[in-house]
């Protein structure tokens, strides 16, 4: 068994969180509260030393005064905590949305629309290509609501639903895999690092 106090704390908190699977209990509540409190404090300090200091303070000290605008926008964002002048935070939000949209718009269109359309324009010379094209076309038909889903159009929409269901199933399968992987990681920690029963 480990003699490290850090490992013991981590192990007991892991058990505390997992105990919720049995039922809600004080041990879980304490672990959850510790997690929230420690996370908030950690992120607060981390952001000061890794975001505000290197990106703002250091640049201002180097005489790059135009970084003060970014600082002012940051303060304006926090002003939503003061109801009387909270409206000023909208300017900072507007700036972020404007730059974000401008930066992303063309690139997003190029990478996620144009390239994907190009990637779908393939010859019908393999089962994989045929399945992909049928899936894309019928999936799009399903999301076309300007015409009633009846007759041939309705049939194609139904095929589209099947493709969408298969993709949901694949996503669910991957999600299960991810959650089980995390559980394995925690179990390995408990039996290896804490109890030292595994090598």
């Amino acid at each position: 068994m480990s003699t490290s106090i850090e490992v013991w704390i981590a192990a007991l908190l892991t058990l505390g969180i997992l105990s919720f699977l049995y039922k809600d209990n004080p041990f879980y509540k304490v672990s959850e509260s510790i997690f929230i409190g420690v996370s908030a404090a950690y992120w607060f300090v981390y952001m000061i030393y890794n975001v505000i200091k290197p990106n703002l303070i250091v640049n201002l000290r180097m005489g790059q005064w135009w970084y003060a605008f970014a600082g002012i926008l940051g303060i304006m964002m926090l002003l939503r905590l003061v109801p009387k002048i909270g409206w000023l935070s909208r300017w900072a939000v507007a700036f972020m949305i404007g730059t974000g949209a401008g930066l992303n718009f063309i690139v997003y269109l190029q990478s996620n629309v144009m390239k994907q359309i190009k990637g779908t324009l393939v010859p019908l010379n393999s089962i994989g290509n045929i399945v992909m094209i049928v899936g894309v076309v019928t999936g799009l038909i399903y999301f076309f609501f300007s015409a009633e889903h009846k007759g041939l159009f309705g049939g194609a929409a139904k095929v589209g639903i099947w493709f969408i269901m298969v993709s949901f199933g694949a996503s669910f399968g991957y999600t299960v895999m991810a959650r089980i992987s995390l559980l394995i990681g925690r179990m390995h920690f408990l039996f290896s690092d804490w109890l030292r029963l595994l090598h």
């Binding site: 699977l21 049995y22 981390y46 890794n50 975001v51 290197p54 990106n55 930066l103 992303n104 690139v107 997003y108 190029q110 990478s111 996620n112 390239k115 994907q116 190009k118 990637g119 992909m132 993709s167 694949a170 996503s171 991957y174 999600t175 299960v176 895999m177 991810a178 089980i180 992987s181 995390l182 559980l183 394995i184 990681g185 925690r186 179990m187 390995h188 039996f191 029963l197 595994l198």
Partner: protein, 280 residues
């Protein structure tokens, strides 16, 4: 019939217990599973394999301790693969905890005898630039100037003092990008900016949850390869002949999946049988 009826009202804690047993027992009684790497995993391996000695690769970490069981084995695999091929590595991250976890993976790799003997030097064979806030803006900025985006490394050393970084100006000097991502900001931004805008070839390793969203990039060739979740990590370990936690966890993963599949089938049979009975 009564068994099926009981399945419908089964206490969920029994399922939790069975999943726990399915996960823990294979950790104690490991068994060998033959790996069959997916074409997506093979694509990433082949892309790195094609890089020549002296190439410079960026390994970016967008993950945290919560997703480390899936991503950390991939990062270790990538570091081993690159070092064996004499590729220079630039570590960085768009998530605050990514570079710290990458540093941990690097430390574990360097402590292995094979890599200890290579006498790899910080600043010459590899560097860790640390975390930079800003997501896509950081990638965009790196396309113009990497030294301006990262004036210092993770430890605060000025970038001009690191010999590896002396010849690196922007993405033109980067041969390949390996992005290990657990969410946003992550692989989609690297694809949009580094690959599509600055034309740097890249591949990705991601959590299983994000994999379905990234497969379209593989189909279009925007990604050379993709490691999806723990299976992807195990594939990569198998391909690089460096068994680690990816391969070690696969028996637990497989048995747990089997238990879940059995419960899904049983649940559905029970649902349809009891519904039919109710209709009568």
């Amino acid at each position: 019939m009564r068994i099926l009826e009981k399945t419908m009202v089964l206490d969920r804690r029994i399922i939790f217990l069975l999943i726990a047993v399915a996960v823990v027992v294979p950790l104690f009684i490991p068994f060998h599973l033959k790996m069959h790497p997916t074409p997506a995993s093979q694509g990433l391996y082949d892309a790195v394999e094609k890089l020549s000695k002296g190439s410079t690769v960026i390994i970016s970490g967008e993950y945290d301790p919560g997703t480390a069981p899936e991503i950390q084995p991939m990062v270790k695999g990538a570091l081993k693969h690159c070092f064996r091929k004499g590729i220079k590595v630039i570590l960085m991250g768009l998530w605050p905890q990514g570079p710290a976890l990458e540093a941990q993976a690097l430390q574990e790799v360097l402590e292995e005898t094979e890599f200890e003997e290579m006498n790899l030097q910080y600043g010459q064979d590899y560097v860790n630039l640390g975390y930079k806030a800003g997501g896509q803006v950081v990638i965009q900025s790196m396309g113009t100037s990497i030294p301006a985006t990262f004036p210092t490394d993770m430890a605060g050393t000025p970038i001009e003092e690191l010999s590896l970084m002396k010849e690196i100006r922007n993405f033109d000097d980067i041969t390949f990008i390996l992005d290990f991502s657990a969410g946003d900001p992550g692989t989609p931004f690297w694809v949009m900016f580094a690959h599509d805008r600055f034309h740097v070839p890249m591949a990705s390793g991601c959590t299983a949850v994000s994999a379905p969203m990234l497969y379209p990039y593989l189909q279009t060739g925007q990604l050379a390869g993709l490691l999806g979740g723990l299976k992807g990590a195990a594939d990569y370990e198998w391909l690089t002949k460096s068994p680690g936690t990816g391969i070690q966890y696969m028996p637990s993963q497989s048995i747990a999946h089997l238990v879940i599949v059995i419960f899904i089938i049983l649940g559905n049979i029970a649902f349809f049988v009891t519904r039919k009975k109710g209709e009568r």
